[in-house]
């Protein structure tokens, strides 16, 4: 939900001369014009010409070890840095390897542009070497995609790709570049404006609808704000915090929304959903008004939809009209950018008399406090390291300032539950697609975007092995990312489901033959550390985080620890398994 003209389209150029350039030169011109400083990629036959030209520019190229890593890295770069992430890969297998990364960015609405090489146009459809119809393959998992058929179209299409990726509801855009097209010559005139007649996202909310929201807030006894990734994408955290504090409405977020509201604020309820906090889920069940902003009511959030916030009026603000009334019926739908909508809503609240808002909310907030005290997130640290303890210590040692990326599964949920995110853009996870192997390359991308920040990938022993090859990228590019492995020698989340719902039949989830991660780190030229006892956790973290190189920290944790609370799939979210 980046603003329309915040970027290249605003630039005005006084002289508009055309010059004859090759497609590759034009590509570089447009990329520079779009402010691209980094490309994550992997070369190959169909993109040799582009690489040849790229090497002549000052755009940084991060050479990944697998194209999936390139896309996740671009994703992490976009989330941490608030810019469009760019990747460049070759045709055929290079292109197909990007699909998982693209699908993940699509589900999480992350602005990236994927440039894929393609065989020369006269060979398209011939089953040529390394030919694949990547535009066909990625049609359902990109916001839009293009096959560039002539060099003349190149500047317009690249411009459109960047514009589409970051405007409206952001998302990945793929541009397929046949080898002869980029090698061809054209008269290049820099494009000023993007002209897409059919694409016009609604940023400004309907005022009448907003006034109805104010009315609902005025009369609500038990209101809740439910915020999501849209707040982070549209940079609306400040406006959200203002709304919550002046109306004294408690806030929960989805996984994607963590950091949108300060995790230490008294109004913070914790995350909602399948592994949400007891108080967040109970508040949702009991509330009489839910203000949902920048969310899409994923099934992991709602559980049984009929029972979700069933006593509440629901206000839903989102820039994407298809998100509204897709899964949950709403009382007041508002199509608009989160930031713009909240900027309009906040002054309207000031115009009404909320009276002594603290007294008015006392009963509701007391009830929530009671839920918090009766069923807190808790575990008992005994002889074996508890994974939750590692995350709590990580939070303490980093003082909550690190950018945390995660893999997927238990590690992801514990990171979400026990690291209290104060600010947006500090929690980077594959939320919608739930893509194992995301965390390490995303950490690399985040580290590129924020070289001065501490970037930590919270991983499991299973998921880290899915893109472990990217350690080589981190070492080669001197990106000092830190990997915290919660090593339970299981595919833990699936094991947890097997324990709870399949009578402990642990079919194929044991991972007894994992590599020695300390030696593996050393083999990559990184540093490896291990903690086997609870008392070693803090010292290993302190040591590992202070080394200015890539570090893998292997924590041997309780093998059969599970993530709680847990809502069984399809149950109402107020029906939680607690321990």
């Amino acid at each position: 939900m980046y603003r329309r003209n915040n970027h290249a389209t605003m630039k005005s150029r006084t002289v508009q001369k055309s010059k004859t350039l090759t497609g590759t030169q034009v590509l570089m011109e447009v990329l520079k014009d779009e402010g691209v400083d980094t490309i994550f990629g992997f070369p190959g036959g169909a993109v040799i010409d582009i690489y040849d030209e790229l090497a002549k520019t000052d755009i940084r190229h991060v050479l990944v070890r697998h194209e999936q890593g390139a896309v996740h890295a671009a994703d992490g770069y976009a989330r941490a840095g608030g810019k469009v992430g760019v990747c460049l890969v070759t045709s055929g297998p290079g292109a197909t390897n990007t699909v998982t990364g693209i699908a993940s960015a699509y589900m999480d609405s992350i602005p990236i542009v994927v440039l894929t090489g393609q065989v020369p146009t006269h060979l398209i459809g011939n089953d040529a070497f390394q030919e694949v119809d990547i535009v066909g393959i990625t049609r359902p998992c990109t916001k839009h995609n293009y096959l560039v058929q002539s060099a003349e179209d190149l500047p317009r299409i690249i411009k459109e790709a960047f514009y589409l990726a970051q405007s409206g509801r952001p998302g990945p855009v793929l541009v397929d570049l046949p080898k002869d097209v980029v090698a061809g010559k054209l008269d290049y005139v820099p494009q000023e404006e993007v002209n897409l007649k059919s694409y016009n996202p609604t940023y400004h909310p309907n005022k009448k609808q907003l006034r109805k929201v104010v009315e609902l807030i005025e009369h609500a006894e038990k209101p809740v704000i439910f915020a999501g990734g849209g707040i982070i994408l549209s940079k609306a955290s400040e406006e959200l915090t203002e709304l919550a504090r002046k109306t004294q409405i408690p806030v929960t977020t989805s996984l994607m929304g963590l950091g949108a509201f300060p995790g230490t604020d008294p109004l913070w309820l914790g995350m909602i959903g399948m592994h949400g906090t007891y108080r967040a889920n109970m508040s949702t069940g009991a509330c009489d008004l839910m203000i949902a902003i920048g969310v899409r009511f994923d099934d992991r959030v709602t559980g049984k939809t009929e029972a979700f916030a069933s006593q509440a009026n629901i206000v839903h603000i989102d820039i994407d009209p298809t998100s509204i009334r897709k899964n949950i019926p709403v009382t007041i739908p508002i199509v608009g950018d989160c930031k713009t909508s909240l900027k309009h809503l906040n002054p309207l609240i000031d115009q009404i008399d909320l009276g002594d808002i603290h007294t008015k909310r006392k009963k509701w907030l007391d009830q929530i406090e009671q839920w918090k005290n009766t069923k807190p997130l808790a575990y008992k640290q005994e002889d074996v390291i508890k994974p939750q303890y590692v995350i709590e210590k990580l939070y303490e040692v980093t003082k909550g300032n690190a950018i945390i990326t995660t893999e997927v599964g238990q590690n992801q949920m514990w990171a979400a539950q026990y690291y209290h995110f104060e600010r947006p853009n500090h929690f980077i996870t594959s939320g919608g697609l739930g893509c194992m192997g995301f965390g390490l390359p995303a950490a690399i991308g985040a580290q590129v975007a924020c070289p001065d920040k501490l970037v930590v990938d919270v991983a499991g022993d299973g998921s880290i092995q899915m893109n472990i090859q990217e350690m080589a990228t981190a070492v080669q590019c001197c990106l000092p990312v830190k990997v915290v492995i919660l090593n339970n020698r299981y595919l833990g989340m699936v094991r947890q489901w097997q324990e709870l719902f399949y009578e402990k039949r642990y079919a194929c989830t044991g991972m007894d033959h994992a590599p020695d991660f300390v030696k593996l780190a050393e083999a990559f030229g990184a540093v490896g550390l291990r903690a086997s006892k609870p008392e070693e956790v803090e010292s290993v973290l302190k040591e590992g985080l202070s080394i200015p190189q890539p570090v893998i920290m292997d924590f041997e944790v309780d093998q059969e620890e599970s993530v709680y609370p847990m809502v069984p799939a399809g149950a109402p979210i107020t029906e939680m398994l607690l321990v």
Binding site: P140, K197, S198, D320, P321, T322, R325
Partner: protein, 162 residues
């Protein structure tokens, strides 16, 4: 919730892959397509797609929103109801034994359709009309034996103000 039949027409960029985006949306999201027509408009850069679909009202709302979200869809209109003219064409090959020939021609006359091919044992009948007319005609021809049928799917245009 009761399923309703809706006819939607959209103007789209006349480019390769656009139809695939529209159709892929229906299959990917589990929406249903009853019929589909595509052809260029007077502006050769723009095509018109007409889709007949059946779903309950919330799903119809989703279909419309999802279609509008496609970058290549320029304009979309729900043509359901009396505000639009709707027509469908069919070519029907009907068995025409000597004893049925006169009866078939009478039906053709009543329905104001045309015989476009005649053989010893068959007629091919061209008919245009709304769905009700086509169904009525088919019911009448069925006893003679319908050999083959090709239907165009529905087309629709909004009525201009009088």
């Amino acid at each position: 919730m009761q399923e309703e039949k809706h006819i939607m027409t959209m103007l789209v960029d006349n480019e390769p892959g656009v139809l695939s985006r529209v159709v892929g949306l229906f299959s990917g999201k589990g929406f249903n397509i009853e019929s589909l027509c595509v052809a260029p408009t007077m502006d050769l850069k723009v095509s018109r797609i007409t889709i007949v679909t059946k779903a309950n009202p919330p799903v119809i709302e989703q279909i419309e929103k999802q279609l509008r979200k496609l970058i290549n869809v320029i304009k979309l209109r729900d043509m359901t109801g009396p505000k639009a003219v709707k027509r469908e064409m069919a070519l029907i090959c009907v068995r025409a034994k000597p004893e049925h020939r006169a009866e078939i021609l009478r039906i053709v006359d009543i329905f104001r359709c045309k015989v476009v091919d005649v053989g010893l044992e068959h007629y091919i009948i061209e008919v245009t009309g709304d769905e009700g007319k086509l169904t009525a005609l088919l019911n009448l021809l069925k006893p003679m034996g319908i050999e083959k049928i090709a239907r165009s799917g529905a087309l629709a245009l909004y009525r201009e103000p009088r």
